[in-house]
Subunit: 354 residues, 2 copies
């Protein structure tokens, strides 16, 4: 049986550390794990299973002999290093937005569109965290009844903005509880000119703004959903629009998803049953028992949790659902490692000659 050399790029970050843990439990025969990061983390020791591994500096030659790269070190680093890794024969699974919309890069949620892995040319993209959990919940409904339109409002946890933003938010919370001023230097995004506190606040800006006033996060939810759910020629058949808001939660994005089905006869019970029988989805929906997904309860879990399925009482075929998932696992590390498992199972861990 073939064994694989796997490199984790950005190994010391919030997602990187989860990639190490998820890889340790994956159904992938491992020959060697390499941990790569920026200069300042070189020499750090991290555990993979019971083995201590020393973090090395990420550079083009780090990828010589590597079969699979799991990458989560930021878009700029992906853009620079992943083509170098592909040149050296490594298949790269990228967690950043660097290559997601590129024509030759499959954007994959296993169980939804992993058949597209067959066409990869060395780089495969992991969708954005907020996209993954929404599409995971919508897909079984789409497959059976067709989705016409989606209007989503997100409630996104700070860990999606990285470890520094997370620490900043906790520091702000302590400052407020001590009746001190809250400082802000990172959120809403390091790339922004102005920074605002997130603790006990709401920031309706995730990532930078596009020219049309949508944020890049909103843009990602709209266009990634279309790319995942449809092949190119009919990607405009499903209408998607979004408002993305950062909330003072550590782990676990919430999403209020309003969707309109093509089939107008579907009932809430049928939707609940479809979700319940789909692998990777967990229905938490019993209002009589106050059962509904909450970030605090699902942090550390791999599934996507769905509750509060309700019919819009004035529009036949329109429904609400409330979707929550661990953004670092389901929205990032778990999805990436599941793609790697798929590649191994389908014997697709090779860069094709093009």
């Amino acid at each position: 049986m073939k064994e694989y050399v796997v490199a984790i790029l950005g190994a010391t970050g919030a997602v990187g550390q989860r990639l190490i843990k998820e890889l340790a439990q994956a159904n992938i025969p491992i020959k060697q794990v390499k941990l790569l990061a920026s200069k300042k983390s070189v020499g750090k020791k991290l555990k993979f299973k019971n083995q201590e591994i020393i973090v090395e500096q990420a550079q083009p030659d780090s990828f010589t002999g590597v079969d699979i790269v799991l990458s989560s070190a930021g878009g700029a680093i992906s853009k620079k290093l992943l083509p170098e890794a592909v040149k050296r024969g490594a298949v790269c699974l990228d967690n950043t937005s660097a290559f997601r919309m590129a024509e030759n890069v499959p954007l994959v949620i296993p169980g939804v569109n992993d058949q597209q892995l067959a066409y990869h040319q060395g780089i495969i993209a992991n969708p954005n965290c907020s996209t993954i959990q929404m599409v995971a919940a919508l897909y079984p409904l789409h497959r059976r009844w067709g989705i016409k339109q989606v209007v989503v409002s997100t409630y996104q946890a700070v860990s999606g903005a990285g470890k520094k933003a997370w620490d900043e938010m906790l520091g702000q919370a302590q400052a407020r509880l001590d009746n001190q001023q809250m400082a802000a230097a990172i959120l809403p995004t390091p790339a922004a000119k102005k920074h605002y506190p997130l603790a006990f606040n709401l920031l309706p800006q995730i990532d930078i703004f596009e020219a049309d006033g949508y944020t890049h996060e909103e843009w990602k939810m709209i266009h990634e959903t279309k790319k995942i759910l449809f092949n190119d020629q009919d990607s405009n058949q499903i209408k998607v629009t979004a408002t993305c808001v950062r909330v003072p939660v550590e782990i676990g994005h919430g999403e209020a998803v309003y969707f309109i089905l093509q089939d107008k006869q579907v009932t809430v019970k049928e939707i609940q049953a479809e979700i319940e029988k789909t692998a990777g989805l967990i229905l938490q929906d019993d209002f009589k028992k106050q059962l509904y997904p909450q970030p605090l309860q699902i942090a550390g879990k791999r599934e996507t949790f769905v509750g509060r399925v309700r019919a819009d009482q004035e529009n036949l075929g329109a429904f609400h659902m409330w979707v929550v998932a661990d953004n670092l696992l389901r929205g990032a590390a778990t999805n990436t490692v599941e793609i790697a498992e798929c590649l191994v199972r389908k014997n697709l861990v090779r860069v094709p000659n093009i």
Copy 2:
């Protein structure tokens, strides 16, 4: 000039304390202020302007000689005491949901539908906090272009659940920062069987559940909006649906409002201009300057703040906006005192003989 005796019922609560402050600045000639509360607050001293007032126990005879009652002591107390106050000649402005949907009770947002005050029979209801700020922002657009449909997702502050819930959430936050277990005995609502922590969490339950799986808060947003924006015979022309979520914010509800206009030719700029020129609304909408409403920035202010006005790029006539207001002021005390000012100005401070 007539001077009025004003009683504040529930004077020691989060809204009650703001009613005292708002009344002190109101355009209402005051003869006397009475502060009423439950037995356990009797004897407390609170300041109205520079005057110390001793809190008295609220009971039917407390209202003898009172002209105006500003009530915020919970639905059960309103149901019991306000009819007694009306019998004694007092006009009651109620902040609870006790009478909002009653046929002979005007449900009023000054500037939107204060003409309905003319038909009051002693009790006038203040809409729910989340309804007030949404309808305040939608009304100028509705008047000019007609609103067909609204889909709203709320991000509601803990102070809307009262002072005890607010304290509970702050205690939970400190527990988490000290790596202690968070305790929960009040939220999502004292009436619920199960309680969950709100700090660093999201609770998609506000108030109790209705039989159809909507929460009572969602029900209020839907039905109060219809009652305010239309008179009875065409109250079903505007479609409204809602998802209400409690978030770990102290003061200031956020609302992601998606709305569809009857007029399909309207532009974002026209909507922004209409909001900008409406009294009581403040447009904070310039993405190039990262200007958008945030709870931390608007707490303590009386206006309704609107930003992130955007067109749905695939549905002509459909738009998003992000609405934030201080739920204790705009959503409660300020609206109530503005109704009192309207009544005084229109010479309607009298219980009609029916």
